[in-house]
């Protein structure tokens, strides 16, 4: 089962999910991208260059950290964080942006576009564009621009043009739609750096390939502790790139339970959430077939999460596949619980997590109770929380 999972996608699909539901205008660009990616991936020179940037620019490998005081609080569990918050620019997003920027340079495309929700992917993209001398335009919903104003300032300082998106829900979904429309219009000169394992093939595969470094490192680091693997690996899931990044290395370890944590917002029953796998059904959004939050007529629903990075009505098609073959379990955590975990982690560990992985930290506490003392949990700490100061009041 998990062997099969690792060989996916087949013809651009993970089981029934994925595909290329885009206007004809983009089809030849997607074919070019797929060919170029497979060629680059197999090119030792490209891999060497990527490894160099990972080491010196991103700051990899990121550490594996024993969160002992949090573990005590959770009843004597061994909790480890994979510290993606220590990546340059503060989140795992740079792993993907660096790889895709190198690919854009290889393809001779000098203009880059990106969408962003929390602003972390926008900052990562603006950062690599500064580093590689590429023109950069970032699409961001006006609501997200308000709640993540610091990241807007960072992007502008880095030389990116930030385009405010006022259509629809004014968040990540609409920013992505706008970015795709830009790409349809400028596809000959422009590379679109999608920020997650979403979008049409080959994006879910390519972004996974660039993010799997998280899990590859973490698995090796974890084994070097005492030769054993964790019982459970937990990661938050919006589009799902940090989760795919850490899960991929463990897919064949059948004894390792994998858990993806979506945003339950104000509660699944209220309808104000962003949990596509827990509360959605299969459909097409942004070029791929996956689980989508939609009404009975196939219109995409507005979402809610306190964390802008999880506030998205779709999810990567590989997650949909992993859910359906029951290799990964998906759950959802509310705003309130995520905020509590944010505070707890900050106070006990001196590490301020982003609100996105705070969802995963909360659920690690839930699992810890199930496992009992001595349980072993690995959490992907996908980013740092400085950006969330405005969403987290005082106390």
């Amino acid at each position: 089962m998990s062997r099969a999972a690792l060989t996916h996608p087949v013809d651009g699909r993970f089981g029934a999910f994925g595909g290329q539901y885009v206007p004809e205008t983009l089809m030849s660009a997607l074919k070019e991208l797929e060919d170029m990616w497979h060629e680059a991936k197999a090119d030792p020179q490209f891999q060497l260059e990527l490894a160099g940037h990972r080491r010196a620019f991103i700051g990899r490998p990121t550490p594996l950290y024993a969160a002992t005081r949090l573990g005590e609080q959770y009843g004597g569990t061994h909790i480890h964080f994979k510290r993606e918050d220590l990546c340059h620019t503060g989140a795992h997003k740079l792993n993907n942006a660096v790889g895709q920027a190198l690919l854009a340079v290889r393809m001779g495309k000098k203009r880059i576009i990106a969408e962003t929700g929390a602003g972390q992917h926008g900052v990562a993209t603006a950062t690599v564009c500064a580093r590689f001398g590429l023109e950069c335009t970032v699409y961001m919903g006006s609501e997200d621009m308000q709640r993540q104003s610091m990241n807007v300032r960072r992007m502008k300082l880095l030389g990116a043009k930030v385009v405010e998106v006022t259509s629809g829900t004014r968040t990540l979904k609409d920013a992505t739609t706008e970015a795709i429309r830009d790409w349809v219009s400028n596809v000959r000169t422009t590379h679109y750096i999608i920020g997650s394992v979403v979008g049409p093939h080959p994006y879910p595969e390519m972004v996974r390939d660039l993010q799997r470094v998280i899990g590859d490192e973490a698995r090796e680091q974890y084994l070097s502790l005492d030769g054993k693997l964790p019982d459970v690996v937990v990661a938050c899931v919006g589009g799902g790139s940090n989760a795919i990044g850490i899960f991929t290395a463990f897919l064949d370890d059948r004894d390792v339970q994998l858990v993806g944590v979506e945003a339950a917002g104000k509660g699944i029953r209220t309808g104000e959430h962003a949990a596509s796998l827990v509360g959605g059904r299969p459909g097409v959004l942004h070029g791929s077939y996956s689980y989508v939050l939609q009404d009975g007529d196939g219109q995409i629903l507005p979402t809610h999460s306190i964390s802008a990075g999880l506030d998205y009505p779709g999810v990567g098609p590989e997650h949909a596949f992993l859910r359906d073959i029951e290799r990964v379990e998906y759950v959802a955590v509310t705003d309130k619980d995520a905020l509590a975990a944010f505070r707890l982690c900050t106070r006990l560990e001196g590490i301020m997590p982003a609100l996105e992985p705070s969802h995963a930290i909360h659920h690690a506490g839930v699992i810890a109770k199930e496992l009992g003392p001595g349980g072993r949990i690995l959490v992907c700490l996908s980013g740092r929380g400085d950006k969330d100061m405005d969403s987290v009041d005082g106390g």
């Binding site: 206007p23 004809e24 089809m27 609409d174 219009s185 459909g283 097409v284 219109q299």
Partner: protein
């Protein structure tokens, strides 16, 4: 894949020394009643076919004008079932109606049910701009089984050998997207359009229609003789958005086609 005999849509949009005009409206924009009224009026102008859009929350191929119309239609409560009723009311005028919809509303509605009900409503064909030929089945098969034409799109970025494949999946006509981009009103026709149309015509016996960015008499004059039909959308939708009905615009445009009544 293509029907042995010419379909009603194919016959309607094929040029005979002239240029046919295809108009576009959004179902439910600004209301269901009004879109039926406008559709009927446009049907009487001498256009060859009417495209009726089904609104979608995330229209990847549409520019701001049609996107806004879609948002207004959704805000007015337009559903897929409601759009089919608009199509049925307008099709009763005898004009071939082509539904233009994104794939997700069709999937959510149930493609087989959608195909059956569209056929029942008298619809002639369906265009799904985010359904490239690779993803077309099984939905396109169900549409064809219901005797609906499946119109696929060719873009300026489509390689020549792929044009023939797209044409072979199409029936009714082949839709040639004139610009590398989304729908909208543009001042000039893009460069290279004549070459693209010639490439497409070489590779199909179906009528060829062009759309995206066509809105002016001089565009139509320049296109005449190079293809069978031109589709005008955003310019008409913009007039409807401003409480107009697009009829006088369409009549003006028809003068440049040589098919006006």
């Amino acid at each position: 894949m293509v029907a042995e005999t010419s379909s009603r849509l194919e016959n309607a949009v094929r040029a005979h020394g002239d240029l046919k005009l295809i108009a576009y409206i959004m179902a439910g924009h600004p209301s269901k009643k009004r879109s039926i009224e406008v559709g009927k009026r446009l049907a009487g102008t001498g256009i060859a076919a009417l495209e009726i859009g089904i609104p979608h929350s995330d229209p990847l191929a549409d520019g701001p004008i049609i996107q806004r119309a879609g948002q207004k239609a959704l805000a007015a409560g337009t559903t897929v079932a409601g759009a089919l009723e608009v199509a049925e009311a307008v099709a009763r005028e005898g004009i071939p109606v082509v539904l233009m919809t994104y794939i997700n509303p069709v999937l959510a509605y149930d493609p087989r049910k959608f195909a059956a009900e569209a056929a029942q409503a008298g619809v002639a064909g369906v265009i799904v701009p985010d359904l490239p030929i690779e993803e077309a089945e099984p939905v396109a098969g169900w549409l064809r089984s219901a005797s609906l034409d499946t119109v696929f799109m060719v873009a300026p970025t489509t390689p020549p050998d792929r044009i023939a494949t797209i044409a072979s999946h199409s029936s009714g006509f082949v839709y040639c997207v004139t610009v590398t981009g989304i729908t909208g009103v543009r001042r000039d026709l893009p460069e290279g359009i004549a070459e693209l149309l010639a490439e497409v015509r070489k590779r199909t016996t179906l009528p060829v229609a062009a759309g995206f960015g066509i809105s002016r008499q001089d565009h139509l004059k320049a296109l005449r003789g190079k293809l069978d039909a031109a589709a005008v959308g955003s310019a008409i939708v913009d007039e409807i958005d401003r409480a107009g009905d697009g009829v006088s615009l369409v009549r003006e445009l028809l003068k440049a086609c040589g098919t006006g009544r």
